[in-house]
Each structure stands twice: as C-alpha cells, then as structure tokens.
C-alpha cells in the first residue's frame, strides 16, 4: 500500500468547505494549507462559486489533473458518496475528519466506508480524527495556525488514537525542542492503523524514533504490532491509556486473574523492547533521548555533577527507575585526579556520582567527562550541569557534546530550563545531546535507552 500520497501530497482537495462559516473545520484546513504549505489545495463544495476570491469546486471531478489526497469533512452520512467520487476521480488517499461513526455507535456506516476503501485500495486516515501534520508538506489539523504550537521538522514519528493528545504532545515536543517527521491522529482507525504506521516509519529515512499513544488494539493486533516493532529496527515508544479497565470476562482460572489486560500489555512490551512510557512526561523524555541515541544500554550510568546534592538526587532517581550507578574503575578515578586542576584536586568526591564541586572550571568538567566515559563499566553519562558557578563558561554545552561524540557514549545533560542558560542548552541540543530541565527528567531519558535495549 502506497502511503506517500497521503503523507507527502503535492495536491489536495478539501471537501466540505463552507461558504458561510469561516471557522468550519474544512475552511480552517483549506486556508492554512492554501496560504502556508506547498501543497496545491482545492476547496470543494457542491454550491460552487467563489471562496475568498478563489474558485470553489462543485465536485472533485471539476478539479483538473491528478489529486494525491482528499480531506473529507462532510457530515458522516455523506462520506460514502464522497469517497466513491474520490475513488472514481482517481484520488489516491484521504483523511476523514468527520465524526459520527463508530465512536457514536454507527459501526455499520464506518464498516461501509472501510469496505469501500479496501476494495479500491484507497488508504485513508480516520474517521473522527485531526489527520496529518507532515512538516514541509501538509497540515490537516482543523485548528487555526495561530492557536497551536508546532514542533520543528525532526526525526520523531508520532501516532495517536486521540487528536487532543496529539496536539498537546506537539506542544510539549516543541517546548523541549523535539522535532517530528510526521504526526498522525488516526482516530477511529478504520483503515490506517498503528501497524500500517510502523510499516511506513520503518522505511521512512527521516524517522528515527516511533512513538504511539494507544488506547487499545483489536483482536490479535497487539501481537502483529509487536512483531512489526521488533522488525523495524528503530526504537518504539508507547503510551497506553485505559490501564485500569477491568477485563469483562468472568475469571475462572488463576492465570486469568493474574494476567489482567494491562499487565499483559506492559510485560509484553518490555519483553520485546518497546519502551512503554508511564505518562506524558516520560513519553516526552523518551522521545527526546531516543531522537539523539537509538542504541540501547543495559542501564549502567555514570553521573557527573557540580554539586553533591544533585548527584545524590540522581542516584536515588536511577535506583527508582531500575538503573545502576556502578562503582567506577579505580584507575578511572586516579586518572581524573591527575587531570583536574590543582585547586580542586583535593575537594573533588571521586566516585560515582563524581562531584567536581562548584569550584571546577570547564577543563575539569571536560577531562572528568572524558575519562568517566572511557570507563568500561559505564554506558551512559549524566552531566548535571548547574551553571551557577563562575568557572562554568557558556561554551560548556558544546564542549561536552564533543566529548560524547569522541568517546562514542551517550550523554544526557541537565541544565535548568531558563532563557539565561539558553546558550548552554543549545550547545548541547544542536550537537544532538538531549537536555532535561530536571535531574529526574535526565534520569528518565537514560531509562528510555535501557527500555529499548535490543533483546
């Protein structure tokens, strides 16, 4: 099934544009794409005439030339007819924004639309969804551009069963500087489902991490999802909602009562190295970490700190999240002792966490990070970089990123998320080192690497 016309269309029809209501979803979609995206957009309404001095097409048949994708935003009852027209016209795919299908109890209507599409190999997203945000190509979210915050183009592919969660997550991604390659709200997922999205993202070279918000799979679909996730070779992150829902079946065996639906879900994800995020906060941290590093770790963390307290807090958080903070090789510590400046040699706490104290300067931090990264027992460095002391320069982010690159080990930084320290944060982020705005956030990023270690 070819999905490139759906996710990277060059021409698009928006069907159901209103002639009287400028805030109708179809109008919002038409306007934003027409004015701000390269996709050539055709508004369609049976009344015809003009809309904002542009031609309003009576039907898709009036549009000259091929159309890659149609946004269908008409009332549910009209969708089958509109889809038939799209298929007849040779349109290749669609986003059905309209609600009023399975979510409103109209299973039959949804089935009818799905059958129609299957028969014609006409892939569509939805119904009852926001559709697609494909940076540089198209945006079918029926939310005015000025109301939402869109992340930059990046390497996270995100798929959500809920449009609201998707938009909200976009805001969080943007806030953390996480870019997306494609974000899709799949709504009632009558045609395009999570497994199809895994197929797409597996082949998409722009995507390095695949993230999902899932409420539930259909019969046997969880197994297919796991198999595809394992084959795709990219880290997969999942946030599951509806965890507390009790199984409806009468429980007649020990096993059935021990293995509730969510427990099975969670344990199976772990078994197959799909990183399950416990909440939105983790989802964001996981995506940020995995967008920089796609190789998993066993979970041995080296902590570099400029304050004793931050080191201890990080150790506690590591313990809570199942990460180890192993004792470093004594030789590592000896070397660091030799390399740091004489002023701090005797006040540094040599160990893991390694507390360089507030008297350290850039060179001390760089030397310590280098040799800590070379320790064979350590797989990932947490650099807790509180930038308050005068010895830390604005270049420390960029300098430490170089260390991570040279040593070939993942590094995760903590820098307070304040405008004042933006230059340090960018020094890291522009060099592909993720930065958390709290110590715990940094630990969650390390947890992501552990969660997706290859089985």
């Amino acid at each position: 099934m070819e999905l490139k016309y759906l996710f990277k269309p060059s021409t698009m029809a928006v069907i159901g544009v209103s002639t009287s209501q400028d805030n109708h979803p179809a109008n919002v979609i038409y306007t934003k794409n027409h004015l701000r995206y390269p996709v050539k957009t055709f508004p369609v309404n049976p009344k015809g005439g003009m809309l904002h001095r542009e031609k309003l097409y009576r039907s898709v048949f009036e549009i000259e030339g091929p159309v890659d994708m149609a946004v269908i935003a008409v009332r549910a009852g009209f969708v089958p007819k509109v889809m038939e027209d799209c298929i007849k016209k040779g349109i290749r795919s669609a986003v059905i924004v309209s609600g009023g299908f399975a979510e409103a109890g109209n299973m039959k209507l949804q089935q009818q639309v799905a059958d129609l599409a299957r028969e014609a190999s006409f892939p569509f997203v939805g119904p009852n969804c926001l559709g697609i945000y494909s940076p540089d190509y198209v945006d079918t979210f029926f939310l005015p551009g000025e109301r939402i915050i869109r992340p930059e183009k990046g390497n996270v592919g995100f798929v959500s069963q809920s449009g609201g969660v998707l938009v909200d997550q976009m805001v969080k991604f943007a806030g953390q500087g996480i870019g997306v390659s494609l974000a899709v709200s799949i709504g009632n997922k009558a045609f395009i489902r999570e497994t199809d999205m895994l197929d797409w993202f597996a082949r998409d070279i722009e995507t390095k991490v695949i993230a999902f918000y899932v409420e539930g799979f259909e019969k046997g679909e969880g197994r297919r999802f796991i198999q595809k996730a394992e084959q795709c070779g990219k880290p997969v992150v999942i946030l599951k909602a509806g965890k507390s829902k009790k199984g409806s079946e009468a429980v007649s065996s020990h096993t059935a009562s021990l293995a509730g639906d969510y427990r099975v879900f969670s344990e199976v994800m772990k078994q197959h190295c799909v990183a399950e995020a416990d909440n939105e906060y983790e989802l964001t941290s996981f995506c940020e970490a995995l967008s920089c590093f796609q190789k998993g770790i066993q979970g041995n963390i080296g902590i570099l700190s400029l304050s004793g307290g931050h080191g201890v807090i990080a150790v506690d958080a590591c313990d809570l999240h199942g990460l180890s903070v192993p004792k470093p090789d004594p030789k590592t510590m000896e070397t660091i002792r030799e390399k740091v400046s004489p002023e701090i040699k005797d006040i540094v706490s040599y160990g893991n966490p390694l507390d360089l104290t507030g008297s350290s300067v850039d060179n001390d931090i760089v030397a310590a990070a280098t040799y800590l990264a070379r320790d064979k027992g350590i797989e990932c460095l947490l650099a807790l970089l509180i930038p308050y002391s005068p010895g830390v320069s604005a270049d420390i982010g960029a300098k430490l990123s170089q260390v991570a690159r040279n040593e070939g080990k993942p590094m995760i930084a903590y820098v307070p998320n304040e405008e004042k320290y933006r230059i340090i944060i960018e020094g890291f982020e522009l060099n592909d080192i993720p930065v958390a705005s709290s110590v715990e956030g940094a630990v969650l990023m390390a947890k992501a690497l552990k969660r997706c270690k290859p089985c």
Binding site: I226, E249, S253, H254, A259, D261, V264, E267
Partner: protein
Amino acid sequence: MLKKKIRTIIDAHKDMGWVMEPGAKAIMKSQGLDIPDFVLTNSFEKAEKFLKKINRPVVAKAVSRKILHKTEHQAVVTEIRSGGHLKKEMERLLKLDGCESILIEEMAEGLEVIIGAKNDFQFGPVVVFGIGGTSVEIYNDTAIRMAPLKPEDVFSMIASLKAKALLYGYRGKDGVNMEVLTSTLVKFSHLIMALENHMESLDLNPVICTKDRCIIADARLILKTA
C-alpha cells in the same frame, strides 16, 4: 497443528467447557512435560496396590466435573502414607459432588511454582510464570511473556520475580534445575500456541520444582466458549 491425542481429549470435554485434571495432565505428558506417577480409580484395592508399589506418600484428589477449584471443596488430601488413611479419605472423596473417580499420585516435594497460559485478546497466547500454590493471587509474584518463549525470555522472567532467590537456592536449600525449568516453559509455550483456537486459559498450579525435575502436580484447561 494439534496432536490427535490432544484433539480427542479436547473434543471429549467441549460441552463441559474445561478439561479436568487427568485429561489436562495427559495433554501435558504428550507434550513431553513431567507428571507424577498416578493411578485413576475408584477401587480401594487398586489404590492401595499403587501406594504399596511406590512406597512413598501419595496425594488423593477427587475428579469431578462440578469441582473447578479443588482446594475450596476439600477435594485434595496430601501426605497419605497408610492403607487405612487412604481408605477413609477415598470414601469421603467419593461422596463429593459429581465425583467420578479418585486420582492418586506420588507426592512431590519442592518449590511450588505456577505455569499458566491465557489467550489474550490483543496478544494471543501468553505465558504466566511465578511463585505458585494456593496463595498465588495474594502474592502475585509473576511474570508474563508472549508465547512462544525463547530461553532468554525464561531467564528474564525468573530474574524479574521478587522471590527469584527461592529458585536459585536460598539458605542452603537446593535451587531449581534451571535447564529443566527452561525446557518445561519453552515446551509449554509451544503447546499453548498449538492450543490457540481451543484454549481460554490453562493453569499448571502447582508445578513442583526440585533440583532434578519440574513435576506438574495439578493442571486445568479452560476451553474457549464457542
């Protein structure tokens, strides 16, 4: 593909909705899993002969289509050593609701684990493994994995249990034979894949693990309702 023997047992129990212990154990045995020596009878003479032959304590259990959870119906008697004890208990068991015959087995001693399977709506057959016995739901110290299992899955299941030390050997006690346990779980996971279209859930609880064997002391297969 289901073996013919297994299919026959399942077909015979379709109407009942579940396969009682002797049938369920026969399925396990046909799959190369370890079950205790037993005799299935309601004759005291045969039972006593078995007791004398194996010359070790036995367990007596009522086989009844009306009793799904035996412990709750006092349908299990352990540590029977004498003919007199055996006779008294057999007479009592035979009076229990729906009791067809008595299953008399050699009594195994060791660590009680649960090996279970559930046909999950989203993921299909999954294996549950953990600390077993009658209090299994209280401790709920179990791990779940999607079938079929690889040996590495078994290692990670064991490692994720709170009580893993009991399996490795704790305070001078023998640990469980990991090789046998691993092969038991792997074989079991392949069996439940083959049973996918027939099974709702399958409890092997307890399975008695020792330094040599993993013996299935009780088994119950709940069939899918059509």
